[in-house]
């Protein structure tokens, strides 16, 4: 079942198109990472979903229904620009949200706060940026929502808290929850997301599982031979995008299956092969460049 489903979701501000024809589907029980550079439309997408801004065109359904106040009770939200009421302690803040959500039990909130090492008795205006972000996360999960929509959740968190939060997020979806989060930090998406969508200039340019994105990404294979081998030997092979020969070494940039390339290389006195696993950064840059070439 799709927990989030958008059709041709478009948002324009005057002449600027912040989001263009987004068809996004987030399935029950998955962590979906929305990846993109600043200004790509990530925050716009999340704010449209939570209904604080309205689409220029297109539709949104959550749990198969249009957004309603009742539905918001099933959703936890962390805004990208988090501002909490001051003059309240963390616990007061959670009690306030709890009353509005008709969920006064602070059990889940206390558990997560403890795991993130957040003191709920401190006033929000006395908290550091990282601790405010922790409180933002705690309030998003406090009412045990069925879906969380998180805008840059790891922003400002120290590495330890990040790791703990990622572990919590995994447990949350394993327990039946669904998560959509945005990030411009690739390693975060790589660690946490089941599926990734890359948003560039308001359009979803690619959407896939992390594993499959990596499989289809441009990889570098370096062959070391006992003698010089001409670059032209490899340039005609399917999937090979670029070949570069220096002395006895041949570097091939390749996408997809590497079987034929390796078989060809094996016909020569091959001493060593090294494969460089691409991280999402390279995938991201690759798509950004490809996009740039189109313009």
């Amino acid at each position: 079942m799709n927990v989030i489903s958008t059709r041709q979701l478009t948002k324009r501000y005057g002449d600027t198109t912040a989001l263009h024809d987004l068809d996004l589907e987030v399935r029950q029980g998955e962590v979906y990472g929305l990846l993109g550079p600043n200004g790509a439309g990530k925050t716009t997408t999340l704010r449209l979903l939570i209904d604080v801004i309205r689409p220029t065109r297109g539709s949104i359904t959550l749990f198969g229904e249009p957004m309603s106040p009742r539905l918001r009770g099933r959703i936890g939200y962390l805004p990208g620009e988090l501002v909490l009421y001051d003059r309240l302690t963390g616990a007061d803040y959670l009690r306030f949200c709890g009353a509005l959500r008709d969920h006064t039990d602070l059990g889940e909130a206390t558990t997560l706060a403890k795991r993130l090492d957040l003191d709920l008795d401190r006033r929000t205006d006395e908290l550091s940026k990282g601790n405010r972000q922790k409180l933002g996360l705690v309030q998003a999960f406090a009412h045990r929502p069925d879906l969380v929509i998180l805008d840059e959740p790891a922003s400002g968190l120290d590495p330890l808290a990040q790791r703990e939060f990622h572990a919590y997020l995994r447990e949350y979806v394993d327990g039946g929850g669904t998560a959509l989060f945005s990030s411009h930090v690739l390693s975060e998406v790589e660690h946490v997301a089941d599926r990734v969508g890359i948003l560039l200039a308001g359009s979803l340019v690619v959407e896939d599982t992390v594993a499959s994105l990596k499989a289809n990404a441009l990889r570098e294979l370096t062959f070391t031979f006992a003698e010089e081998v001409a670059a032209a030997t490899f340039s005609g092979i399917a999937g090979v995008k670029a070949v570069q020969a220096t002395g006895n070494e041949v570097l091939c940039r390749v996408t997809g299956a590497v079987g034929e390339l390796v078989r060809t290389a094996a016909r020569f006195p091959l001493l060593n092969v090294t494969s460089h696993e691409p991280d999402l950064e390279e995938i991201f840059v690759h798509y950004t460049e490809e996009r740039g070439d189109d313009d």
Binding site: R70, R72, P79, E81, L100
Partner: protein, 266 residues
Amino acid sequence: MTTELMTKSLRDNRAGIIGWGVALVASVLLQLAVYPAVRDAAGDFEKLLDSYPEAFKALFNVQQSLASGVGYLQGEVFGFLAPLVLLGIAIGQAARATAAEEQSRTMDLLLANPISRTRLVLDKAAAVLAAVAIVTAAFAVVLVAGSAAAGLGVPWQDLLAAALASAVVALPFGATALLVGALSGRRGLAIGVSVGLALFSYLLDALSALAEGLRPWRVLSPFHHAGVNEALTGDPDWLGLAGLVVLTGLLVAGAAAAFERREIRS
């Protein structure tokens, strides 16, 4: 259903309510305390007042001799002080209602809660109404007790009716601030528009006592319909007050409708 949002708004505005309330109560006490001295020196005051231009007297609601209790209250309490404070509370707090949360960027998280935007506006409006009611109640108590002690000789029913009328006339201006804030998300604009309208309405009503040409237009002024001066002399305009309450309701409904459509700034 929960009253959490209304209570929180009220709590957040606590300092404002106490500040305005204390200012009003203290000023009223001071005015009432000097009344016996004013009455005893009535002759000199009359001479001084006679030398004032009519427009000035109209502006400060000097209708009768200051020596009479009613005249004194009209000029010193209801002419300027009470409307200023009650308008200040209603406009100041209504302008904050949605616009301040939007400008300080707490609105995104507030709206993520399972509460409709209409409900949010109504809860915030209720908090403003409660603030006006609290200050009006304190004002009325001090007015009734103080007038009796100072020997103004104005019946307590008339004092209560006048205090109520002063509060009711502030409501449509507060609701205007709520509406402008819901439409624009700007607190400054909400205050500016409402204060401007209040000032214009006040002048229209006050000056129409002097200028024949203005008289047909004074029906546009909420101050005309509130009938504070008439209430003090035992003739409150209940229909006019009811009209102001209805007008307030319409403006609040407009604010809720506007906020339902509002794009919250990020």
